[in-house]
Symmetry: C2
Subunit: 330 residues, 2 copies
Amino acid sequence: MDSLEISQDSVKLKLLKKLLISQEYISGETLANDLGISRTAIWKHIEQLRESGYKIEAQPRQGYRLLSRPQQDLSLEEIGLCLKTSWMGHRLIYLSETASTNDVAKQLARQEAAPGTVVLAGHQTHGKGRLGRRWISPPDVNLYFSIVLRPNVSPSKAAVATLVVAVAIVKAIREVAGIPATIKWPNDILCQGRKLVGILTEMSADMDRVHHIVVGIGINCNSDLTSLSNHLLAPATSITLETGTIVARDQLLCCCLEQLEKYYSIWIEQGFASIVDEWKRHSETLGKRIKVLVDDQIVEGTAVDLDQNGNLILNRENEIIRIIAGDVLV
Amino acid sequence: MDSLEISQDSVKLKLLKKLLISQEYISGETLANDLGISRTAIWKHIEQLRESGYKIEAQPRQGYRLLSRPQQDLSLEEIGLCLKTSWMGHRLIYLSETASTNDVAKQLARQEAAPGTVVLAGHQTHGKGRLGRRWISPPDVNLYFSIVLRPNVSPSKAAVATLVVAVAIVKAIREVAGIPATIKWPNDILCQGRKLVGILTEMSADMDRVHHIVVGIGINCNSDLTSLSNHLLAPATSITLETGTIVARDQLLCCCLEQLEKYYSIWIEQGFASIVDEWKRHSETLGKRIKVLVDDQIVEGTAVDLDQNGNLILNRENEIIRIIAGDVLV
């Protein structure tokens, strides 16, 4: 099992950025001086970048020049290069295979990992969904990633984190893939009524404060129908099934992390009230007659609104019910 | 660092119960047959019991006879013998020293430890209180223990676990020590206005369900004033300071576990509404004018009631406020 890690302050990434910006050859000596490492270390990083799919020319007495970037749809270095965030995803750990990215991220969180730390997997052997369900995680086609967050909120306010994340992800998918993704309360993202994204939020808390939240996000990117359909309760789809083209997973992940940083900051600084309109705009649930499973009871009614605390407001024969958490059945 | 473990189905405990019930000698052969182990194994357990402070006579051709029980105020075997619960404390792990019993219990909980598993320490090097505070934990005089619980509730209902535990502990202390202990909302137990017990409840949850709760309980039993007073924000006391006698910690722990099982079961089966009157009866807070720190804001008013969801109801100049979690300052 491979484990790779990239962070925004790594020398390799700084080297790559220098090569990318320059149109000319850069000498090993210049690179070594600029980055404060030896020329041997420069050469080792160049070799690693070549292994990651970067074509880099080396000319005696002239130096190094970048010829082309990787062709695969997921490159850690490309994520590192493209990511425009202040802190989200600045440390990114890639595991070719793991049981569950949430479990790895929770372990890192207990070891004081910084907020915004991301665990990304090529393949999950025990991908988890809500309510103990599985999340089907075929290898090397989709995105499975978990993020460590440390909001300074009480546990009762943590439930809206899932709604904040849903808004960020739906915006990212619409932007990158151009498909009409919608949010099914509380934490699914659908396309044309079929499941595209699952979000699983877990927390460690005492009664006063959240210690950390780990949000796991599974996006069906390039998987075909056969790898999805037979296992899920609800019909599923993927971006590639909707668009007919392969989505660059690294590009999508960058956009997700940027939107996550944006909406997370709005939530923390201004409260969920500043996000609720955006949530409603993309809601699949509002206006529909639904059944919700709440604490083993089925509540039926029309979903009329989402309040400023993230509660779903249900109209049941003119009785108004506020639901904090539940599972929409229909 | 010593680590000992006792469970209700251990052979050693069954052997001890047989010796305790019998007034006569019991032969090694009878014991071996009854317990389904060898006579050598019986002899080894007898040796261990002697090391734990039990005086056991051995007469050739007659067998074994219990002469006296341990004199120290905390004996794991005595806890095992005396505990009258169905599941609470049926597995008890004793650590002579650990950083924090909550941390050990949380780790066990993640490894699927059964509900009711108890971690007890002789000494905590990093005892934790609420809101990041320390819990002063001098060695071998007090009780520091944590319990793994697995209530099938949503995270928003988990906050009342602390109130349930407070009721159980206040009842146990009143019963064993005969002192007028009271509950300061949400999770302190006082005697004559001085702090006697701290409770720290931590949980692991997703947005739908609690995975596990770990409740840590620190009871100042036999510590003197010097080991308590200099470190705490609030004035502290101990049972021995209130009564002038040494409290048998094993007896107190048994009573705590019995009351915890009782009130936890009431909470799960009937809801907190069935416990709220008991809580109010021992409340230090109700009827008083208080300041509460809620999410970095100070709310001042008169504590008028506790509702059936465990919220404290504050009357602030005829405005009624419900508080889920907070820290009473005055």
